[in-house]
């Protein structure tokens, strides 16, 4: 799981263009949206693309993202249970 979390952080940084950040800068338990990293609804769409591209998980409804993208840890947990790649 640690490896997945680290890889996921790298992928998030790349997908969301967080140029000046490293995986070490992201707390996997901090909230990604709102107060934490401060991401928004468009970033949520980018994360949906990331999930399908890298892990073969297709989300039909953007609203599902609210729960899944709570934090990197929550995201990694969801991926490990649902990945097809």
């Amino acid at each position: 799981m640690d490896e997945l979390i680290y890889t996921l952080k790298q992928q998030i940084i790349e997908a969301l263009n967080l140029e000046d950040m490293t995986p070490e800068d992201i707390d996997e338990n901090a909230s990604l949206f709102g107060e934490g990293l401060g991401l928004d609804s468009i970033d949520a769409l980018e994360l949906i693309v990331l999930m399908e591209k890298n892990y073969g998980i297709k989300l039909k409804d953007p609203a599902q993202g609210k729960e899944i993208f709570k934090s990197v840890a929550v995201m990694a947990d969801f991926i490990s249970k649902n990945r097809t790649k």
């Binding site: 609804s41 468009i42 769409l45 953007p62």
Partner: protein, 397 residues
């Protein structure tokens, strides 16, 4: 403000080429939205409102040679412009006294997206490079008919055509022109079909504006132009107005690039300004042709804006996008034509596919209804919060 007269119009969309076919579809609740048939794309899962003609068929109708450089947006524009000029009895010789203002966002993208890799690495199709931009599309459309007094292009996404109408009216009010042909044109492209899909706002079912189960929009394409004219000019030419543009408003939502504010601030301001310009009260509005795309966000936001302006007395509302799909840049003028038809024929266009009230939303017109109309509001809201509203009225006798 003194009303501006509308002395001609032309329209092309998924429900028909020309006014007669269009009116027939509206009166008989016949939608033009269906499976993709013309655009070459992988995404066959999305219903769309395509104009039922290939580019070649449009060229044939217009008498344009097969080898000519054309774009689909310009071809649809030409069909609509041809009808509008004829409707207003404007001959080629008169055009040097007539302005032309068109709205589009895709321009020649239908060609560029096909030839992009060629543009980069070969000499093939390079003659299309010069017609990629929006302005070239407008000029291609206009040049078919003659030399207009001036041409320019607006590009405010889904409110482009509405804003073209506003600019034309302002030019007449300032005495810069007596007659201006205004509107917009847009064809479906892979570029924006995929763009909207990446934003997850397309529905795989026919759209259901203001319905509790709505899940997104269907893209459409088309073109429409209105001939705006000063009263003095219409009198001089002895032409009867078909309708009047009594007021208009343009405001920026200033909330988000692709979402509307929860309280519909931009929409509210645009509609309010349209009424104030016309000097009429909310209670005088007989019908609203909503922007009503069928997305969760727009319909909620627009409902709030209408409730803020009209309180408990929201007039009959419908979205005609289930007929045509969302024609993006052209929607403001296509739906203005529908409003004028409604004024002329005394009916309320139906909000097709509606069955369940949404939470805190307006209840649209879902049954065929005859009603004498005097003032109707036509909304067009663009990405980035470019919100516009037109107040159209029956001509004074």
């Amino acid at each position: 403000m003194a009303p501006i007269l509308i002395t001609g119009m032309g329209v092309v969309s998924a429900i028909g080429v020309g006014q007669a076919e269009t009116l027939d579809a509206l009166l008989n609740n016949r939608s033009g939205v269906g499976p993709l048939a013309y655009l070459k794309t992988e995404h066959k899962e999305f219903p769309v409102g395509e104009v039922k003609l290939t580019d070649a068929e449009m060229r044939a109708r217009l008498g344009i040679p097969e080898t000519a450089i054309t774009t689909r947006t310009a071809l649809m524009g030409m069909l609509a412009l041809e009808e509008a000029l004829c409707d207003a009895h404007l001959t080629p010789g008169m055009l040097p006294q007539v302005g032309f203002i068109s709205g589009t966002t895709v321009g020649g993208m239908d060609m560029s997206e096909q030839f992009y890799l060629d543009y980069i690495s070969s000499e093939a199709h390079k003659e299309y490079i010069a017609v990629h931009d929006c302005g070239s599309c407008t000029e291609m459309t206009a040049n078919r008919f003659g030399k207009f007094a001036f041409t320019t292009t607006l590009s405010t996404a889904c409110s482009s055509a509405a804003n073209a109408i506003i600019l034309g009216a302002n030019m007449i009010r300032c005495g810069e022109a007596d007659i201006v042909v205004v509107g917009g044109s847009e064809c479906i492209t892979k570029f924006h079909l995929n763009g909207f899909n990446s934003l997850m706002i397309l529905d795989t079912e026919p759209c259901r504006p203001f319905d509790a189960t709505r899940r997104g929009l269907n893209l459409g394409e088309g073109a429409a132009y209105l001939v705006l004219e000063s009263e003095e000019s219409a009198k001089r030419r002895c032409v009867k107005p078909q309708a009047m543009l009594s007021g208009y408003g343009n405001a920026c939502d200033a909330f988000h690039q692709t979402a509307s504010s929860p309280d519909g601030e931009g929409a509210y301001r645009a509609m309010k300004e349209a009424l104030e310009e016309a000097g009429i009260k909310p209670a005088d509005v007989d019908y609203i042709n909503a922007h009503g795309t069928g997305t969760t966000n727009n319909d909620a936001s627009e409902s709030q804006a209408m409730k803020r302006l009209f309180g408990d007395q929201v007039p009959p509302v419908s979205s005609t996008k289930p007929f045509t799909g969302h024609t993006t840049s052209a929607s403001g003028s296509i739906e203005a034509v529908f409003c004028i038809m409604a004024l002329q024929q005394g009916f309320l266009p139906v909000n097709l596919n509606w069955s369940q009230p949404m939470e805190d939303g307006i209840i649209p017109v879902s049954q065929p209804t005859k009603k004498a109309l005097k003032h109707v509001l036509c909304n067009a809201f663009g990405f980035g919060g470019n919100d516009s509203s037109l107040l159209l009225s029956k001509p004074e006798s």
